[in-house]
């Protein structure tokens, strides 16, 4: 997933959590970059028609940006689910963040053929826990694949 896709995904999740524009500072924190770097990328996203930035309010995705963000989030969900369900990786969230830059949509599509993903994906992604709500992140019993597919 390229850098722009990681940014639109982060903006999308922040907008979901804030129920409004994503603050530049929060975006920089989420992306673990400086506010200046975040601002530079926001400018690039604006020029590509993916986001709009309003001073003192924050950044909001355009319709095209939302489509792109949901695709990126779906790719991210596939990576998490693949790590957790296929490779039995306990720290799947941390590893998904590490692998996210090198796994693009095309590769995720192939990995997706061997996992059972919920049809509501990526709406099942919980920004608060940084994970699909059907994956076990708190030590609770995870939902089985069959149940998750229902």
């Amino acid at each position: 997933m390229n850098t722009a896709d990681q940014y639109v995904k982060a903006i999308y999740l922040l907008q979901e959590m804030e129920n409004g524009p994503a603050a530049t500072g929060a975006l920089a924190d989420m992306m673990e970059v400086s506010p200046a770097s975040a601002n530079e990328m926001i400018g690039k996203l604006e020029s590509r028609g993916l986001a709009e930035h309003e001073k003192y309010k924050g950044v909001t995705l355009t319709d095209d940006g939302i489509v792109r963000a949901r695709d990126a989030l779906q790719t991210y969900c596939i990576i998490e689910r693949f790590l957790s369900n296929v490779l039995d990786v306990e720290e799947f969230r941390a590893e998904a963040r590490e692998l996210e830059p090198v796994i693009d949509g095309m590769i995720a599509e192939r990995l997706d053929t061997i996992i059972d993903r919920n049809s509501e994906c990526p709406d099942c992604f919980d920004p608060e826990t940084d994970a699909c709500e059907y994956l076990d992140v708190c030590g609770a019993e995870p939902e089985t694949e069959t149940e998750a597919a229902d």
Binding site: L87, D88, V89, V102, D104, M106, I107, I114
Partner: protein, 163 residues
Amino acid sequence: MSVGYQVSSDHQLARLLQIGIVLEEVVEARAYHHHEELDEDALDEEIRALLSHAAEESADHRERLEAVIDRLEVDSVPFEEIEALVEAQYGQTKPEDFDGVLYDQLCNEETAYKFYDDVIEAIEASDAQFSIDREELVATLSAIRDEEAEGVEEVTRIMEERE
């Protein structure tokens, strides 16, 4: 791929190679099931040879990746479980689910090529010390990537001839 992405440890490298193994398993399983389940008329000699070669090549790539992982300082990985999982998934796939053998094969080869290309770039961008010689590692992955590129060319040639 994200600009500046680097592979920073044996662990991360092993994880990427594991993903490569799964992609190869998927190619092998799809090629095998295309070969086994599609009707005789749908597969002529040229496509049969292509699928057979694809399955053999994927098995070879998988073994080469496994050999690299074995030399890294990481916990062992459950290859057999992955193989069984992929097989179970494709064992349930009906022939009619396979939409276009050649197109599917092209996607397989292109995806694998892109994956290895990105991994090589991420290794070359990194200063990390791996427990395997970096030049040897890149040479192994480059050889696999080049075979995927040849696969893309071969499938494209067959598709163009049949247009």
